[in-house]
């Protein structure tokens, strides 16, 4: 019986089933650039945690929607993410992926002083999507996302990290590279083209 190796699916993985993205300080600008470069025909959903500190994610959604090539929506609990849509974590809640692939929310304690936390999304997504998951860590001034990225890589997922030198705040991509390592370290401008090539049907 063929079986999955402990580190994940074989490298000849099927098409990715989700892309998860984490951004913090400088994230609005970076996400704008990333989403502007995405192809609307990608085969999977994009799920984004961005620390904003604001009580509402609507402003972020509207700002990103102006630039994004993908429709930008707030992730709704219990709903399934949809291919070709950028789903944003609501403000004040952790966003998780449930075992059936749907979104779940929690108001559990902050992680890395943040709620939503990138680590919470990443770790829950790794348990669902395994090697069919792609994770992107962008600019930020803390270390959120690093532990989650490590879990994703252990489950066989692919890690893309913005080059620290290219990031408005280098700490978060640096922590990700130091703690989890990365499959690709790229300037912001190179990330959307790579995602498109990995995610086009």
């Amino acid at each position: 019986m063929p079986r999955r190796a402990s580190f994940g699916w074989p490298a000849v993985a099927e098409a990715p089933s989700a892309v998860v993205v984490g951004a913090s300080a400088g994230g609005v600008h970076a996400l704008g650039t990333l989403l502007a470069g995405m192809s609307p025909s990608i085969c999977c959903p994009l799920i984004v945690v961005c620390h904003t500190g604001s009580e509402d994610v609507e402003m972020l959604r509207d700002v990103l929607a102006l630039k994004s090539a993908l429709p930008v929506q707030e992730a709704q609990e219990r709903h399934m993410p949809r291919p070709g849509i950028a789903h944003l974590a609501p403000a004040g809640y952790h966003l998780l992926m449930e075992v059936d692939g749907c979104f779940a929310l929690s108001v559990d304690d902050r992680v890395c002083y943040s709620r939503p936390a990138i680590d919470v999304l990443f770790e829950s997504a790794a348990a669902v999507h395994h090697a069919r998951l792609i994770a992107v860590v962008l600019t930020g001034a803390n270390h959120d996302g690093a532990a989650g990225l490590k879990t994703i890589r252990r489950a066989g997922g692919l890690a893309i990290v913005q080059s620290p030198a290219d990031a408005i705040a280098a700490a978060m991509p640096e922590a990700a590279i130091r703690i989890a390592g990365a499959d690709h370290i790229l300037p912001l401008a190179g990330i959307a083209p790579l995602l498109n090539s990995l995610c086009l049907p």
């Binding site: 709704q76 809640y93 998780l96 929310l105 929690s106 348990a127």
Partner: protein, 280 residues
Amino acid sequence: MSQPVQRADPEDIEAELFVRALQQRHGYDFSGYAPASLKRRLQSVVQSGGYENLSALIGRVLRDDALVPQIVAGLSVPVSEMFRNPSVFAVLRQEVFPILASYPRINIWQAGCAHGEEVYSLAILLEEAGLYERSQIYATDFSDAALARAQEGIFPIKEARVYSENYQAAGGQRSLADYYHARYERIKLDDKLKRHIHFANHNLTADGVFCEAHLILCRNVLIYFNNQLQNQVLGLFRDSLVRGGFLCLGNRESLDFAPAAAAFTAIDAKARVFRLASRG
């Protein structure tokens, strides 16, 4: 050619066994909890207790009854803040209170009260609306540890600034400091606020209707339940409300997969305030 078989993660198996152990041995049923958050909370119980893994905790939980309250507290409703999402409290004050004012007695149920942040918030707003003397608030939780904390009404002083800002934004008429005494690193809410609050143990997953409520507050509790349990508890709320009674849920809760939600009409969809249209 056969597909690779995806085998269950050891932690998922452990979580299932833990849920079964707690249910069969102690009667707490977490089988209707949404797995992703439950798994995180179990991990944090394991870490904070210094256990090697969840399997080690299962062994203990089967034999050591004294551990259970602490575990239940670790898996229960997380701490909130006073007047969290002030706009929701403003909606309650402006849209719901005027209708509650038409009843000679007002019964309010806060389900999942955690450490009591929201139940005291409600008491303050009722007091300022002149409704508190004829109100009875039932504040319930399934964690005795949480109920004990809630009854104390003591919160860290570092939270006081946020609580005060929230209170003002909710349309509070005085200064929040009028309702508490600060000492050392903590604030203690005025004991008088408790005079119409009844704290009681109630488990939403197992216990039934216990009052006829005019308003039920249950914010950010159902998000931890799977669709089936969410629907079951919404049915319990429906059966506990008077005709025309109100239900207030958390700001981002979705009722799209709960048939029991059909009994409710949104009066403020953004604030997640609903009204029971008719008895189902």
